[in-house]
C-alpha cells in the first residue's frame, strides 16, 4: 500500500524534473547555436510542450510498456531501456559481488566484537572499521588505484572487463571497487550487528540457553542469530538500494558503466528520457530492497509479522 503511494509520488517528481530544471533543457540538447526552429522541435520531442498531467500520463504509459523511447544525447538513437538494462546489469554485478564479500565479513566482525566486547580485539576491529568508513568511497578508490592497481598487475584500473571475458576475469576487474565498498561499509554494518548481538547476548533467553547446557556455537546459531541480526537485515535493505544508485563517484573513478554513472551522464547532457528511466529504476530497486528487508525481518520476528498483518 505504502509502496504504491511512494511510487506515485516518485512518478510525479520524475515528471517534474525537466520542467523545473534550471535553464532550458532544449537549448542544452540542441547546443548554444541552434536556431529557434530547432529549439522548438527539440522541446516538442522532449514532450515539454504538453501539460504536466499529460507528461505524467505518458510516463506512466512508458513504465507500463517499459518503453521510454530513444536517448537524445547520451547514446543518440539507442532505445533508453537498453541503456538502462545494461547499466543495471553492470551495477548488479558490482553490488552483488560487494554484498557477497561485505555481508559475511561484517556480520562475522559484529559477532566477534560483541562476543569479545571491551577487549582489545573488539576495540581494534571497531576502530579500524570506523576509521575506514570515515573515508569517502571515491577517495578510498583513488588510494586503491594508486597503491594497488598501479604497482600490482593483478589488480585492474578498469572495473569493466573487456567484452567477452570469463566470469573470473570480470570478478578480477571488480575487486578494487568491491574493496572500496567494503572499507566504507564494514564498520557500519559490523557496528549494527555488534549492538544487536550484545543486546541478544545480554538477554535472559541467552542465559537460559547457556544454563540449559547448550554449547556456545549452538546458542549463537539457535538463539542469538535471529534476534541479533534483525537490525542488520533492515540496514542492509536500505543500503542495498543505496549501493545501486549511489556509487556514482566510485563508478567514475573506476570507469564503470553502472546506473549511477548513466544517470550522471544523462544529467550532464540533459538526456531526460534516460534520466527519468534511470531514476525510476533506482527508486524501484530501492523500494524493493527495503520491502524485502522488511519482509525478512518480519519473517525473523513473529511480533513484527503480526503487526505487518494488522496493516
Amino acid at each position: 500500500m505504502l509502496a504504491i503511494v511512494t511510487l506515485a509520488f516518485l512518478l510525479v517528481i520524475v515528471t517534474l524534473i525537466p520542467n523545473i530544471a534550471p535553464g532550458d533543457p532544449a537549448r542544452k540538447i540542441a547546443g548554444g547555436t541552434a536556431s529557434p526552429e530547432r529549439l522548438i522541435e527539440v522541446t516538442e520531442s522532449l514532450g515539454l510542450r504538453d501539460s504536466v498531467a499529460t507528461q505524467l500520463w505518458k510516463l506512466v504509459k512508458s513504465v507500463g510498456t517499459l518503453n521510454f523511447g530513444d536517448s537524445f544525447s547520451v547514446a543518440k538513437g539507442e532505445p533508453v531501456m537498453s541503456l538502462v538494462w545494461t547499466a543495471l546489469g553492470n551495477s548488479a554485478k558490482l553490488v552483488m559481488l560487494s554484498l557477497i564479500v561485505i555481508v559475511p565479513l561484517s556480520i562475522l566482525g559484529g559477532l566477534i566484537t560483541a562476543y569479545k566486547k571491551d577487549t582489545w580485539i573488539d576495540r581494534t576491529i571497531i576502530n579500524v572499521g570506523i576509521a575506514f568508513s570515515a573515508i569517502p568511497d571515491f577517495v578510498a578508490g583513488v588510494f586503491l588505484l594508486a597503491f594497488l592497481a598501479v604497482p600490482v598487475d593483478f589488480f585492474k584500473v578498469q572495473a569493466a572487463a573487456p567484452p567477452g571475458s570469463s566470469y573470473l576475469t570480470q570478478i578480477q576487474h571488480l575487486l578494487l571497487p568491491v574493496i572500496a565498498v567494503l572499507m566504507v561499509y564494514f564498520g557500519y554494518i559490523a557496528r549494527v550487528t555488534r549492538a544487536g548481538t550484545i543486546t541478544a547476548l545480554d538477554s535472559d533467553y541467552t542465559r537460559t540457553a547457556f544454563m540449559r547446557g547448550l554449547s556456545t556455537p549452538d546458542v549463537f546459531r539457535k538463539h542469538i542469530a535471529r534476534n541479533a541480526l534483525q537490525p542488520t537485515v533492515a540496514v542492509l535493505g536500505t543500503q542495498l538500494g543505496y549501493l545501486f544508485g549511489g556509487m556514482v563517484a566510485l563508478e567514475r573513478v573506476f570507469g564503470y558503466q553502472g546506473v549511477g554513472n548513466l544517470i550522471l551522464r544523462a544529467v550532464d547532457r540533459a538526456d531526460y528520457p534516460v534520466l527519468r528511466a534511470g531514476v525510476l529504476a533506482v527508486a524501484i530497486i530501492y523500494m524493493l530492497a527495503t520491502l524485502s528487508a522488511d519482509l525478512l525481518v518480519a519473517y525473523m520476528n513473529p511480533r513484527a509479522r503480526q503487526s505487518l498483518g494488522d496493516n
Binding site: 535472559d204 533467553y205 537460559t208 540457553a209 544454563m211 547446557g213 554449547s215 534476534n227 520476528n301 513473529p302
Partner: protein, 692 residues
Amino acid sequence: MTVTESHTPEPADPSEHAALAIDGLEMSYIVRGKPRKILRGVSFEVRPGEAYGLVGESGCGKSTTAYAALRYLPGNGVIDAGRVLSGGEELTAMSASQLREFRAQRASMVFQDPVQAVNPVLKIGTQVAEAFQVMGQSKSEARVSALAALERVRIAAPESVMERYPHQLSGGMLQRVVIAMGLACDPNLLVLDEPTTGLDATVEAEVLDLVRDLRSELNSAILLIAHNLGVIRTMCDRVGVMYAGRIVEEGTVAEVFDNPSHPYTKGLLNSIPRRGLRKTDRELFAIPGSAPPIGADLPFCTYIDRCPIATDICRSAVPPIVDRSDGHWTRCHHADRIGDVPEPDEVTVPYDIGTEQVIGVEGVSKTFRQRGHEVPALVGVDLGFAEGETLGLVGESGSGKSTLAKTMLGVHAPDEGGAITLRGRKMADKATSRVTESVRAISMVFQNPDSALNRAWTVRRILQRSVVKLTGIKGAAADKRVEEIAEAMQLSPRHLDMRPRQLSGGLKQRVAIARAFAGDPEVVVCDEPTSALDVSVQAAILNLLARLQNEERSSYMFISHDIGVVRYLADRIAVMYLGRIMEIGSTATMFDGTNHPYTEALLSAVPNVDGVAEDRIPLTGSIPSPANPPPGCVFHTRCHRAIAGLCEVTVPEMVELSPGHSIKCHLTVEQLQEPIDVDASIISAEAAALLD
C-alpha cells in the same frame, strides 16, 4: 562466645550429598580494569528435597550467587576463592563440556522475568523441546516430551501453546513454560531467581502453588531468591539472609522470621508491616544509612555503619558465626545483645480524619474508543476523600486503577454525567481547562520517579517550577518554599543541587513526593510509589507519607498491589475489578472476614511472612477484556461462589453490609461467610481465556 580472627570462618566441610554446596565463595566483577568485590565468602548448603531461600536488599549479591550455583559467570566475573559443589562434584573444577552436561542433566535455573527468559522469535514448542534435545533425545521424542512437560505444569491447552510465540501468552503462562523447561531434566537442583516478581499477586500465588506441588513430586533441591519475605516464608524450609556479599544469618524460616538474631534481619523484618500493623500503631523501621559502597574492602562487619548496637570490636574483625539454636546461626559479635536493638517508634500523634468530603469522584465512567469498539475502562465509580484520609485502591493489573487516577488528574475526561468535585463544586474535565485552584488540588506520585522527573534539571529547579506554577509565589519566597518542602522530605540542601540520576531510587521518590506537595494539594494520588524500592527504603517513604499527611492534612489515593502496605497506610480500602468498585470499607472491616468473593480471593493470594498461609482460593484465568465484560456480575466467570442462573444474568447492586462497608454481590453475609471447598480448576479457566 569466641571471636575468630580468620576472615572466612565457615561451617564444617560441605556435605557429600548436598544438592548444592557453596563453600567460602568470593567473587568480583572487573569494572574498568579493577576488580569489585561482590561476594565476600558465601557458604551454604541446599540438601536434596530442601527449599532454601535467600533474601537481602537489592545489590547484595543474590543473583550473583544464583548464577554461581550453576557456575555461570558474566564475562567480567571472576571467582577469587571458594568452591561450588553439587552432589560432591566440584563445579568450579569442571571442564566446559562437563559443565554443559551438568546443566543439561542435573540443574536448571528460572529467571525473574518470564517474558525475557524465552526467545521471542521461536515457538514455545521448539524451545521446550530443545531442553529435551540437549539431553540427547531425538527431535520427535523431544516434542512428545515437551508436550508432557507443558501438561505437567498444568498449562491450558498445551498443544496450542506449543504452536504459539511468546508474545501471545500472558506472563503467568510464560512463567509456567519457563518452569516446564527448567524441569525437563528432572533437575537435582532448581534455582529460581525472583520467579514471581512483577507478576500480579494472583498469578504469583498460582506459580508458587505450582512450584510447591512440583517440589513434593520431584524431590529436587530448590534455591529460591526473592525480596518478598512472605514468599520465602511460605515456600522455603531454611533461609539465608544476605548483606553486602555475606550471609549474616541462617536458620529455618520460622526461627529466622520469628526470632531474628542479627540486627540486619531484625531491621528488615521491622521495615515491613507485619501482623496487620497499621500506621496508627507504630512507624515502620527504616534502616538508617545505606549499604556499603560496591566493591569496598571490608575486613570487618559489613553492617557496622547501620547497626544500632555496634561497638569497636565490630570494626576490627569479621564477626564469627554464633549458634543460636540447632541450625540457626548469626554472624555477629554481639549476638547476645540482639534484644538491645531498639524497636521502632510508637506513633504518638493521633491520626485525625476530617468529616467534610474534599474531593469527590461522582458517577465517573470512562469509555475509550478503539478501532470503532467501545472499551469501558471505568464504570460508575463513586468515591469520596475526606480531609487527611487515605483511600487504598487494590485490584489486579488491568482493573482500571491507573485510569481512575488519570481521570482524577484530568488526563482523561470522564464520560458525560460523571464529575470530579472539589468541595462540592464540579471541576473542569481536562486538566488543561482547570483553574489553578483545581490543578493544585490533585497531584500525583508515580511508581517510577525516573520517567516522572526531568533528568536535565536539578532538584531545585524541578521543585521551583512546581511551586511557581501552582502557588504563584515567586523569587526569594519561592526559593524559601522549595527549601521548606525539601526539608520536610528529609532531603538535605546538598540534594537540591543534584540531578535525578545522581540520586538513589529512594531519594528520587522523595523528590517526586516533594513535587507533589509543592502546590499544597488536597489529594495526592500515589500510584505504586514504593513497588520499585527495597523494603527498608519503602519503609522510609511510607513513614514520610504518613507524617506529611498528618501535617499537611491532605488526602491520599494509594494504589498498590501490596495488600500489607495498603493495610498499613489506608484508612479505607476500595477493591476494583473491570473498572468497577466491587467493595469498599474501612480497613478494619475489610480484614474482619466478610468480603466480596473477589476480595476474598485476592486476600488469600497474599504470601504471609508470619506463617504459612491458609488455603488459597484460586482466581482462575485472567481478567476478561473490558471491551467485552461478562453479563450479570462481571466477576462471575472467575467467582468461586457464583450462583448459577443468577450471577450471570442479574447485575448485583452495591449493598451496605455495615455502615461504610459495601459490596456488589448477590450473596448475603451468611452465604459469604460459609467456608468454601477449594477446587483448583485453573486449567479450564485458562483454556477459556486462551480461546477468546
